[in-house]
């Protein structure tokens, strides 16, 4: 018996030794990218899409970043902020990465940003959308750059759009964490500014898959339902809502209907409308090529998670072009990437002075149709309206906007809640 367990120990020791060997040997112009994404757990699909997007870009340019190569080091954070923090420390201290990239949840973004400041390492967030990282707290995190979006960025125009549809009273149901509050907050602010009323806010905990206790409490006299779901919640909510006999129009934040989950959904989501900076059904030649190639390679339509890491690769390569393939140093890199303007798959992207993208926002409707020459009818997020070059401050102006507190469970206050 003792022999057996000592054998496991020996095997473990050998594994560690082999791993150590594999870590040595660095080349001069190798840009080490520490990538943090959930590879296991309920958010694994989003994590995989992120990894695929980056990988596809690196393969496409044959890992030639203007003379430099990149080394991709993946760590699994299981979508838990404390695990993410430890993985970031590992990537920075042990692998000596030039930048960390990733994090899915807004809470992970809030947890990783201080690590980047503490360790003076670039942190690029292609997904984590926590508002304050590029708003009220931007000064605290000088090495933080966002290539994705802020949570409230798409829902600002969406609120106005909802008014245009003639909706007056809306019930909001959203995941109970920062991303949920900020998405709903942005929507509520602009929707109520043009005369709409949010009459109820419901916050199911992150990761809820049984909405039985929540759906019956929704006010019956609303004109529409606003939903913001993430991960496995996205799949379950529309199903259960339809089973409960809902006839009201359903609108929502981008992650409720994003392509990471859309192929697994059924007819219950047809006609639902959401908003985001990307749709796989975006009808541009660039996107058609991107979707076809991605699908060929990974057997699945790309989601915004794939597009955003792909575009991040594009932006980093632009920086390396300017430096001639030399790593410019942390501060200089942040400065250079902030000035980059690219024509990405999602459309034109540039960063504002708080290092957050300015890009198009698309209003999308789920339809079953054929696209890009595929012969099967499938669900696609058809773009029905485009708001060009939307900044995180929408039409409010930066100083005016930053005077208000960050959107939270209680802000903006629910004046019309009954």
């Amino acid at each position: 018996m003792i022999v057996k367990s000592s054998r496991t120990l020996v095997a473990g020791g050998v594994a560690i030794a082999i791993g150590l060997l594999g870590m040595s040997g660095a080349v001069a112009e190798e840009i080490r990218v520490g990538f943090i994404a959930p590879i296991t757990g309920p958010f694994a699909q989003a994590g995989k899409d992120m990894v695929n997007g980056w990988e596809m870009y690196a393969d496409e340019v044959k890992n030639d970043f203007a003379g430099a190569t990149t080394k991709f080091i993946l760590e699994d954070d299981q979508a838990k902020p404390p695990v993410g923090v430890l993985k970031a420390e590992k990537l920075i201290r042990q692998d000596k990465v030039h930048m960390i990239m990733g994090g899915v949840l807004a809470s992970t973004g809030y947890a990783l940003a201080p690590v980047s400041t503490r360790e003076k390492t670039v942190y690029i967030a292609p997904v984590a959308a926590a508002d304050d990282l590029t708003q009220r707290d931007a000064d605290k995190y000088p090495y933080f750059v966002r290539t994705g979006w802020t949570s409230s960025q798409p829902t600002h125009p969406f609120g106005e759009w909802a008014c245009e549809q003639g909706y007056k009273r809306i019930v909001a149901i959203a995941a109970d964490y920062a991303f949920g509050y900020e998405t709903v907050g942005g929507f509520q602010k602009t929707f109520e500014a043009c005369g709409g009323k949010i009459i109820q806010k419901i916050w199911p905990p992150l990761g809820t898959i049984d909405f039985g206790p929540f759906i019956p409490t929704m006010k019956q006299d609303a004109d529409a339902i606003f939903t913001l779901m993430v991960g496995p919640m996205s799949l379950q909510f529309p199903k259960q809502l339809a089973a409960a006999g809902n006839k009201k129009p359903v609108i929502g934040g981008g992650t409720s209907y994003d392509e990471f989950i859309l192929p697994s959904m059924g007819d219950e989501v047809i006609g639902h409308i959401s908003v985001l900076q990307y749709s796989a059904a975006l009808d541009t030649p660039k996107n058609a090529a991107f979707v076809t190639k991605y699908r060929e390679k990974y057997g699945k339509v790309p989601s915004y998670f794939s597009e955003t890491t792909y575009t991040t690769g594009l932006m980093i390569r632009e920086v390396m072009k300017q430096t001639g393939g030399k790593w410019p140093g942390t501060e200089e890199f942040v400065k250079l990437i902030s000035a980059v303007k690219v024509d990405a798959v999602r459309g034109p992207v540039s960063l504002d002075d708080m290092r957050n993208p300015v890009h198009n926002i698309y209003i999308k409707k789920v339809e079953r149709k054929k696209m890009f020459g595929y012969d099967k009818e499938e669900l696609w997020n058809t773009v029905i309206k485009t708001y060009p070059n939307v900044s995180q401050f929408w039409k409010f102006g930066k100083t005016e906007f930053l005077k208000q507190p960050v959107y939270s469970r209680d802000y903006p206050p629910c004046k019309f809640c009954e």
């Binding site: 699994d76 430890l86 807004a106």
Partner: protein, 327 residues
């Protein structure tokens, strides 16, 4: 009585750790620091599980209150970032103990699986507070600490912080060792073996268990304060059930009723999970395999290996081994 040799071995290993740790790489020292903090938590649980026979599934609650206390004081009141760090340590211990004193009123009445369920429920209550009490705890975002305390010495330096944690660890080990060697500790073991007999002998077994529960809570609170500063971030994810289960597994893996077993378990789990996971993607199988093998073949945990070697006729310490009652 445990052998004097055993004590010397532990002292020797601790000295070696204290000397070697600063020369490891800057990531490994973080892991050692974390392992030591979790070792304090595991030892506190061992008092309950290994000595009093109370399998608690809520030990993360005390780690949680300690950690959140530290984070809230630091961010909201700017307190505990200088000399007042020591005050926060005391407050953390007191709050951990007070929380345990409250929970204990309800939990100690139960035993076995019912005790497990009640402590689990209390643990989840603390998690629920951390997750839902947004204005205080920051909800799901957790709290970012402004940095480690500085009072003449800079705890921001990882080696310095390691020594502080190391110091607390050694003191905790010493105090708990004295505790379990004391008549009080002996009576806990008696309660574990046969509570009815102890009651008939005139012991107030409820009070004994209650006091042990409160003491374990205090050490849990201490671990929490250190944990908050080690990570620079406190999240509901730290208080979640998994942390309690981890602590339990550490004790079971190392060997319940040995104190040192919890320490070995903590080191084992932290390094298997946080270090092996950076090397191979199938680390979870290794961890699972180790758990299963330990439970199947080493009911006494990893510490049981030593015992077996001794019993199989190793030359040293033979008379001691013969005298020693089975644990």
């Amino acid at each position: 009585m445990t052998g004097r040799n055993k004590v010397w071995v532990v002292v020797g290993l601790l000295l070696a750790l204290g000397i070697v740790a600063p020369f490891t790489n800057s990531f490994v020292i973080l892991l050692i620091t974390r392992a030591l903090i979790l070792a304090i938590l595991a030892m506190s649980l061992d008092i309950l599980l290994g000595f009093a026979g109370l399998p608690s599934l809520g030990q993360a609650a005390y780690l949680g209150v300690g950690a959140y206390l530290t984070a809230i004081l630091a961010t909201k009141y700017n307190f505990g970032l200088g000399w007042s760090f020591w005050l926060v340590i005391v407050l953390g211990i007191l709050l951990g103990a007070a929380t345990a004193a409250f929970f204990g009123l309800f939990a100690i009445r139960a035993s076995g699986v019912y005790f497990l369920m009640i402590t689990l429920a209390f643990g989840q209550c603390v998690w629920g507070l951390a997750y839902r009490w947004n204005s205080m705890t920051g909800g799901d975002n957790g709290i970012n600490l402004p940095g480690r305390p500085a009072f003449g010495i800079q705890l921001a330096n990882d080696v310095t912080y390691f020594y502080v944690v190391f110091g607390f660890f050694v003191v905790s080990l010493l105090m708990l060792y004295v505790l379990v060697q004391s008549p009080f500790g002996r009576s806990l073991e008696g309660i574990r073996e046969r509570e009815v007999r102890m009651r008939i002998l005139g012991y107030n077994t409820w009070l004994h268990k209650y006091i042990a529960f409160v003491i374990a809570g205090g050490f849990g609170g201490l671990a929490g304060v250190l944990w908050a500063h080690a990570n620079g971030h406190v999240s509901p994810e730290d208080v979640v059930l998994t942390t309690s289960v981890d602590a339990l597994l550490m004790v079971v893996l190392g060997g319940p009723g040995t104190l040192v077993g919890g320490v070995i378990g903590a080191g084992f789990v932290v390094f298997l999970r946080e270090y092996l996971s950076t090397l191979v993607p199938w680390w979870q199988y290794v961890l699972g395999g180790v758990y299963v093998l330990t439970i199947l073949y080493l009911p006494g945990g990893l510490m049981g290996i030593l015992e077996r070697i001794r019993q199989s006729g190793a030359p040293f310490d033979k008379p001691e081994a013969a005298k020693k009652p089975a644990t």
